[in-house]
């Protein structure tokens, strides 16, 4: 196909190239600033401990831009602090998952044999449980807290990262430069750190970006079920859960956090997808 002779797409609007990714990145930046920086520099209502006298204020009421919920807490404040919680959990789970899972997968693929069997079969057992059920079991077993939540979600992310990392390490190990490294008497540790890690990391990073979206949703689902962030602390999932009880009378309590959740997940997916495409194109 050639640029000069390609028929133009007729009657269809086309976004300029790269528009989706850059707008997603900007939106995400805005969300992160709003959640993490804005409450610090601008005095706001606290997300908890509201007065029942202020309960159920409508949208655009004075002093409460998005109104208040049934406990009298400011919705905007809860939205931002809740986003902070959701994003922290998502980043934490993916970063830890990337480090632990990525290492396990690379070690399994590099040494093969017993090490491979031991690591991968353990991971298979974890995968065999539906992730949400496993996460629920863990958060039930311990007292609900952010730490427990992260631990529960790691059961989902570590096996996923380990699988991706193992697959690409296996492919690397078949390449001649790995044989050359062995003939160069480079230690196992050196090969894993200097040869395998730089080649596997970009792939894991793009997978992590896609994973952030998934974990935000999972965290929402857990909080929705009351297993995530312990109330009254806010999180997007928790807000959606509480919002649905007032869905018919005050729909914005449900809609506002849902929109934030969807937009964030969409942005992460767009960026992750673009990164993956770039890596695949090489």
């Amino acid at each position: 196909m050639t640029a000069s002779s390609r028929p133009k797409a007729r009657g269809r609007f086309r976004w300029p190239q790269g528009f989706g990714v850059s707008s997603a990145a900007l939106t995400l930046l805005a969300i992160v600033i709003a959640c993490f920086l804005w409450p610090e520099v601008h005095s706001m209502h606290m997300p908890v401990g509201g007065n029942v006298r202020d309960a159920n204020l409508p949208l655009l009421s004075s002093d409460h831009l998005l109104g208040t919920d049934m406990d009298g807490n400011d919705v905007l404040s809860r939205l931002l602090y809740g986003g902070r919680q959701s994003l922290l959990v998502a980043f934490g789970v993916n970063l830890l998952g990337l480090l632990i899972g990525g290492t396990l997968g690379a070690v399994a693929a590099y040494f093969r044999g017993f090490v491979d069997t031991a690591i991968m079969r353990t991971i298979d057992i974890i995968i065999a449980f539906p992730p949400l059920i496993l996460a629920i079991a863990i958060s039930q077993a311990f007292t609900p807290s952010t730490g427990t939540l992260v631990l529960a979600l790691l059961c989902y992310s570590i096996p996923a990262f380990a699988r991706v990392s193992r697959a690409s390490t296996l492919r690397l190990c078949a390449l001649p430069f790995m044989t050359a490294a062995r003939l160069s008497a480079t230690s196992h540790n050196g090969i894993l750190r200097k040869h395998i890690a730089p080649n596997v990391l970009p792939q894991l990073a793009s997978y992590a970006l896609l994973g952030v979206g998934v974990v935000v949703v999972l965290e929402g689902a857990m909080s929705f079920l009351g297993l995530g962030t312990p109330p009254p602390n806010p999180s997007w999932g928790g807000m959606i859960f509480h919002g649905q009880s007032a869905m018919l009378t005050r729909p914005h309590l449900l809609i506002v956090p849902s929109v934030m959740l969807s937009v964030t997940v969409l942005c992460f997916n767009l960026i992750g997808e673009a990164l993956r495409e770039r890596l695949d194109a090489k």
């Binding site: 196909m1 050639t2 640029a3 000069s4 002779s5 390609r6 028929p7 390449l175 001649p176 430069f177 044989t179 050359a180 490294a181 062995r182 003939l183 160069s184 008497a185 480079t186 230690s187 050196g190 200097k194 040869h195 730089p198 080649n199």
Partner: protein, 619 residues
Amino acid sequence: MIDLLRQPSQSAPPSRQAIGAPVLQVSNLKVAFDRNGRVETAVEALNFDLCAGSTLAIVGESGSGKSVSCRAAMGLLPANAIVSGSIRIMGEEFLTLRERERQLRRGRDIAMVFQNAERALNPVIPIGSQVAESVGAHSRMTRAAARRRAEELLQLLGLQTRRSLYSAYPHELSGGMRQRVMIAIAIAQQPKILIADEPTSSLDAVTQIQTIDLLLDLQKQFDMALLLVSHDLKLVAQCTDSVLVMRRGQMIEHGPSADVLERPRTDYARSLVTAANDLCAYLQDSKASEANEAPLLVAKGVSHDFVTRVTAGSKRGLVRALSNVSFELKRAETLAIVGETGSGKSTLARALLQLPAPMSGSIVFRGHILSDLKGRRLKEQWRHMQMVFQDPFSSLNPKWKVFDAIEEPMIGHRCVESSLRRARAEELLHLVGLPVSLGDRLPTELSGGQCQRVAIARALATRPSLVICDEAMSSLDAITQHHTAELIQKLRTQTGTAWLFISHDLRMVARISDRTAVMHLGQICEIGPTRAVYLEPRHPYSSALLESIAVTREPGLKRSPRTSGPEPHGPAAAPAACRFSPHCDRAEERCRTEAPPLKCIGDGHFVACYFPLNGSEVS
């Protein structure tokens, strides 16, 4: 159709007069690529006509724009390509067609055989289904009819042997057979034009000839116009009507094959002709070896088996990749190991390095029995034996700079102090003929030849006493091969290293080796001074192998009877005795019951045959 195949093609003289109207007309073709705003011209002002039933070869080194031109004719260039000029297929302008209309013409009017059959075939679909898919692509054919036709095609290409290969997967086939499948897919709808882009460059000499002959046969049968792309001028020019030589995107010579071959007008074409020329000129007298010196490497009775997986129609079995291989290598000596693909050459290279160790036999290197060494003691020996690999790009870590790659063995083996490493790396770059400024580049910024030089520099970093080159040049183009061979010849005298060359390219190794060993299905059938082996081969197989690279080869010439047979004989099917006996016209009862040992027939020349050829028989 099957009858057509059985008809010997040489019964009728090649009819070169039957040339029809032009089916592919390329005029003033220009292809450029837009790389982030930077426009790079790949092909400029290309003109040629291809007539029905005729054959045109496009030759040139890699990056000269051969493949780009072909892909332009197929409309298969990436989206950042800018094409101008005109390509007319069957008189109809192709460049202005919509993608949908082009799709209709691909396969029906014009088809292509790709270079790398391994990548072009879908690994998870049986080959028969892949052929059937292209049979039924544009025609309303029932599935059963498409299958029948696909089976016919496979049979036509000699892929329907004792058992049906219809349901075989690509990985179960050899390189040559996969290439046949690619051809079957390309000719499925009997196109008028067939483009073959380097169809043989990843195959060994014998399979190359078979594949080219097959293409020419098919061309005659279906009256196709054939466009053959290659970097091997000698190989293709002799069987084509006209030749087009390209360099850096420009056509520098175009004319009848005989003219270009015999009277090249440009220096470049002349160098392409001589690069592949007369190998006898390169043959050198082997150095007088000091008889008393202890050999550097002694391999004795090395054997290795592979367990095969259960494949379509066959049971799990053992493949004898190496069978009782023995040889010696002296200090600063160069030994070439040649043979067809699948003859166990690469397994031998890995066995010497104990990656993995062979199942039986002993390898003594510098007085150490390698199979007794483990862990650190084995690593110490690796310092003295290094390796250069086939694929220059994947033998360097894409994330490592050139300097880091060259310094890696110095760090691992702790043989150069850290303050001196950079100086030594620069010295090595200089030794392999690369500018020091390249040291900070990544492998992706280098060409194949440059990468291979870096790999050679890395192998020499620890001053090893043995370097094993496993097909180190077969993925480079003719000119780069030429330069690399010159480099190695120079290094041999400078470094005092022994080299072990593993190759299927007999011409190239003839130039650089003192001794040559010929391998066939895991056995060494002849070993001796290169000059003796090349000029007076005594084993029937060696002589057949050497015939395949003979300098003069008429098109349509009878194929060498010893290597004929549509299915390459895999090691799995080899008999217990002399493994060449099924193809050997001298074989007698004894050959089929007892494996012949290597016998000395004079001055370091050994042959494993009960009835070796006499020197006089080989003219």
